[in-house]
């Protein structure tokens, strides 16, 4: 499918044939990924299989060597300053800064190590994008930020600096920072793997709520129990290719490919 073909209206994201090498190390060998509106895709796979690179490619933090990424029209029909219009990027030819910026406008990333801005308060972390980038009125952005912070139980931390928060609280702020941008797609890169075990639950609970609320998400995770519970589709990657994909219960409960079987078995042993 070329990026100019009409896309299924329910598709938020459609990636085809993504390839990426770092020097002589070929990390992505033709990745296809479709994400439908309101659906959650869990991306799983062994270390080094390329999961993070896929997410980063979707958010323009990494520029793939080849393949296409297409975003459909947003549910609100193109509000939020042009970020709702369809976008098709073909990485087979050189891609400019403006196109990368447009790609970034459509999704927001939640990082494994939170990456909050340490010199800004919690409230400032959350309003920085809406105010400085999206040029929304400050008062409106702050009201929205406080509403979102309250939802994750952190309203009273508005004036705290990130170092004053636990890892779980920092990650919840990281999630709110992404939500405040009103992206079409949320990307999570192992959002709980840097957390102490007792803090994992509070972050997963927030993500689960977002899923129930209808946010469209791609989540890289090693929490297979969580993936099974929350994801509509599970995509298993190994060695830069998608080995198996399907409904969570099938891929995790009754994998068909040998590599998937081994991976699922190994992870379940570890936990």
């Amino acid at each position: 499918m070329s990026p100019t073909d009409p896309v299924d209206a329910s598709l938020v994201l459609s990636a085809r044939g993504l390839t990426k090498s770092f020097g002589s190390n070929t990390v992505l060998r033709g990745i296809d990924l479709d994400v439908r509106r309101g659906k959650v895709v869990a991306l799983i796979g062994p270390s080094g299989s390329g999961k993070t690179t896929v997410l980063r490619s979707l958010n323009g933090l990494e520029v793939p060597d080849g393949g296409t990424v297409t975003f459909g029209v947003a549910a609100d029909g193109g509000g939020s300053g042009g970020a709702g219009r369809p976008l098709a990027l073909d990485f087979g030819s050189p891609v400019g800064k403006r196109e990368i910026a447009a790609l970034r406008d459509r999704s927001a990333m939640v990082f494994q190590h939170y990456n909050l801005f340490p010199h800004m308060t919690v409230l400032k972390n959350v309003t920085e994008g809406p105010v400085q980038v999206q040029k929304r009125p400050k008062a409106e952005a702050e009201a929205e930020a406080l509403r979102l912070l309250a939802r994750v139980g952190l309203a009273e931390k508005r004036d705290a600096y990130p170092f004053q928060l636990s890892g779980g609280q920092q990650q919840r702020v990281g999630i709110v920072r992404a939500l405040a941008l009103k992206p079409q797609l949320l990307l999570f890169d192992e959002p709980t793997s840097a957390l102490d075990p007792e803090l994992v639950g509070e972050v997963l609970a927030v993500i689960k709520e977002l899923a129930e609320e209808g946010w469209t998400m791609v989540i890289v995770t090693h929490e297979l129990g969580f993936a099974r519970h929350v994801a509509d589709e599970v995509v298993f990657m190994d060695g830069g290719v998608v080995v198996e994909r399907g409904p969570a219960a099938e891929v995790l409960g009754a994998p068909r490919q040998e590599r998937t079987k081994q991976f699922v078995k190994r992870i379940q042993h570890e936990v």
């Binding site: 958010n59 910026a101 970034r104 990456n115 801005f117 010199h119 920085e128 994008g129 999206q134 170092f163």
Partner: protein
């Protein structure tokens, strides 16, 4: 040894005056221009463009590899032979700014590099351009890291401005020298000059600590 107390008291006036009208303005102006230059040079040095980073590297190498006194003399006594005649003050400000620019550029470059890569990515994921991320996310964090070494550069500069006396700038040390030559009380006058430099530097060290505490407010202790 009989001590000329009258001279001690009467000479403090011109020496402190030299600090207020010479040393301090010369330091402030040179440091301000020097920092701007240093930021520019640090960014060039970090640029992926080989030519630009090469120029920046060459500049830093020349400044750090040659004595400040020689730099000062090249500008004040050397340039006139190329038809560029500068007064003592502009010569001094140019020389000191270029010198600060070379040293501070390396400090700023290291500070920018010390900010974790994830901060650039966080800036990009909320939609910021490279420049926006640099200005709003990276530089404020780099500033905190670079305050202690830049304060040291600043304090060194205060002392280094005494070299401007050699290109006829009326500042603290030149005033002391002139009174010393006239009164022949070298020890008294040079100790007085030393004392005034010391007091200024002590005050600056105190200010430096206060500034560092303020910038550290968002960091775990």
């Amino acid at each position: 040894m009989t001590f000329n107390w009258d001279l001690v008291w009467s000479s403090f006036g011109p020496i402190i005056g030299g600090a207020l009208t010479g040393t301090i303005p010369l330091t402030l102006a040179s440091f301000a221009f020097g920092l701007l230059l240093a930021l520019l040079v640090a960014l060039l040095r970090l640029s992926p463009n080989r030519v630009l980073s090469g120029i920046a590297r060459f500049y830093v190498s020349v400044i750090r590899g040659t004595p400040l006194l020689v730099q000062l003399f090249v500008i004040f006594y050397g340039l006139p032979s190329l038809g560029v005649k500068l007064e003592p003050w502009p010569s001094a400000i140019i020389a000191f700014s270029l010198n600060v620019g070379g040293y501070a550029a390396e400090i700023i470059r290291a500070a920018i590099l010390s900010v974790p890569k994830g901060q650039w990515e966080a800036g990009h994921t909320i939609g910021m351009s490279g420049t926006q991320t640099l200005v709003r996310i990276i530089l404020p964090q780099a500033a905190r890291v670079s305050v202690p070494p830049l304060s040291n550069t600043f304090i060194s500069l205060v002392k280094d401005t005494s070299l401007a006396s050699l290109i006829l700038v009326t500042e603290l040390f030149r005033n002391a020298q002139q009174i010393a030559a006239f009164s022949q009380e070298f020890m008294v006058l040079y100790l007085e000059a030393a004392l005034v430099y010391w007091v200024v530097c002590l005050a600056l060290s105190t200010a430096q600590s206060a500034l560092e505490r303020r910038l550290d407010r968002y960091v775990a202790h």
